[in-house]
Amino acid sequence: MRIPRALIPYLMLAGTIILIAVFAPCLTPFDPYEQDLSRALTAPNEVNLLGTDRYGRDVLSRVIVGSQTTLCASLLLLLTIVTVGSAIGATAGLMGGRLDVFLMRMSDVFLAFPQMVFAIAAAGALGGGLFNAALALALIGWTKYARLARGLVLTIREMPYIASARMAGASSTEILIDHVLPNIAGPILVTAALDLGTIIMELAGLSFLGLGAMPPTAEWGAMMNNGRSMLQTAPWVILSPGAAIFLTVAIFNLLGDKLRDVLDPKNR
């Protein structure tokens, strides 16, 4: 597949963020976990470009390493919701009948919760930690993809090529893998790309409330939570990870928007 030219700058920006996350440990000027209380809460200067936190840890190094935690967790979470949700939706759409009714009523119930209200309570009940926070978001997040995949499958199911594949003797599994999945992948991927920014914000939000990554893990939301009381005296401790979340979300949102524009036939 040729990459549309309009996408290249955005892909490069997103690629840069991902590269930073992958090579984070090699890029940090200091050890992000090494404490030096004599240098606690130093304002940004030539040595510590973004200053230090209350344990004297270099904020820039922690922001860089934090990109790994945040991106890795967010991408894994997104991947889980998209595959599990689409699988449930596609199964419901293909099988129809009682299973379809059951799965869709179940997704109705999950959709009736305000997403973050459920996630906050679930993350709390599961006991906190980054994994549990992601699990809480996955529990409530799959419905969107189940609905989307089901709707797409219902349209595709009636297509002549499915009927002819069936007549040619293809099994349900073969039809699912060879014909249905390739045809629903596009819209699902665009939705996922547009969702990544929101996922990053939600996961960081749970960490910010103390329900996600635990100290001393360098994670952006948790870093902001730990520095909250120091907004007046040491704003760099909070504003640096905050800006990192904002920039990352903005870049992935830009990419998602452009991807949608490029793939949407109306814009051609």
Binding site: F113, P114, M116, I120, A121, L209, A250, N253
Partner: protein, 308 residues
């Protein structure tokens, strides 16, 4: 019409049962139960005493029996007592609810007040500098997590410029938390309204009105804006979910004494009855808002009515 309302209400029953069941089940996950938390301050307590207390509270009953008893409590407004304060959960929740509702209403009003003109101005000036500026702003608002936006507002408006108090008794206390919620909501509304107005401006009746010499302002205020009303209702219903969730984070940042802060505090102290009440009631509010939006929609849009 009445039949439509009835059928919508009947459809709600399984949803409401599902909400309460899931919420109840969620709070059975933690390894420590009410009795453990009740006795955690009193040092080591023998397992016999704990078991007796469990029997007294009915915690040794089968899961479904416990759920049934709890559900009865939800309906009658008796959701037990807080593990921490010992106060009645339902009363505590109702006591804090007005503050959250106030915050939400101010945010919604502010959002419509900001997004309506911005969306229209952007659409009318499509691809001109004004449009590009408004689109950039709405993009920024959309990519900014509310906890970062809230802290930025505190940093600049309260700490640096001394314009507003971070918290306090007077009416100004609502401004910053409401602005925080407005930022992301307003960004979404502006974007949607711009798209809707653009679409509307291309319709034949607008061209017709123009060719008859009707001025642009009249076209906008008399024809285009009324047709965006339905969109605003849809947007309100859609954004209610993120607004209800957003209040938890924003109330925590601004120490706003509503149900969101109550819930976050309850989670950090493992006060499960309070969390259950919070989740159930927030979901009920969400369901009620969505139902009202559907019914209103049904009322306003003849096309929807005829399909039924």
């Amino acid at each position: 019409m009445n039949r439509y309302v009835m059928s919508r209400l009947l459809q709600l029953i399984p949803i409401l049962l599902g909400i309460t069941f899931l919420t109840f089940a969620l709070m059975q996950i933690p390894a420590d139960d009410a009795v453990d938390i009740l006795y955690q301050q009193s040092g080591t307590v023998s397992e016999e005493i704990k078991a007796a207390k469990r029997a007294e509270l009915g915690l040794d009953q089968p899961f479904l029996v416990q759920y049934g008893r709890w559900l009865e409590g939800v309906v009658t407004g008796d959701m037990g007592r807080s593990y921490i304060s010992g106060k009645l959960v339902f009363e505590t929740f109702i006591e804090k609810l007005p503050a959250t509702v106030e915050l939400m209403l101010v945010s919604i009003a502010l959002t419509i007040f900001v997004a309506m003109p911005l969306g229209v101005i952007a659409a009318v000036n499509q691809n001109r500098p004004v449009d590009i500026i408004i689109r950039t702003l709405s993009f920024v608002g959309n990519s900014m997590p509310n906890f970062f936006a809230g802290l930025l507002l505190i940093y600049f408006l309260a700490l640096k410029l001394n314009l507003l108090p971070i918290m306090g008794g007077d009416w100004r206390a609502v401004i910053m938390p409401a602005l925080t919620l407005t930022l992301s909501m307003g960004a979404k509304y502006t974007r949607q309204l711009r798209a809707v107005v653009l679409e509307e401006l291309e319709k034949p009746y607008v061209t017709g009105a123009r060719s008859r010499g009707v001025d642009e302002f009249t076209i906008l205020t008399r024809s285009v804006l009324p047709s965006t009303l339905v969109v605003i209702i849809t947007l309100l219903a859609l954004s209610m979910g993120s607004l209800l969730g957003g209040t938890a984070i924003v109330e925590t940042i601004f120490m706003w004494d509503g149900v969101g802060k109550l819930a976050v505090d309850a989670i950090l102290t493992r006060d499960y009855p309070l969390i259950q009440a919070y989740v159930v009631w927030m979901s009920l509010i969400y369901v009620a808002v969505n139902l009202s939006a559907d019914l209103l929609y049904h009322r306003l849009d003849p096309r929807v009515r005829e399909v039924e």
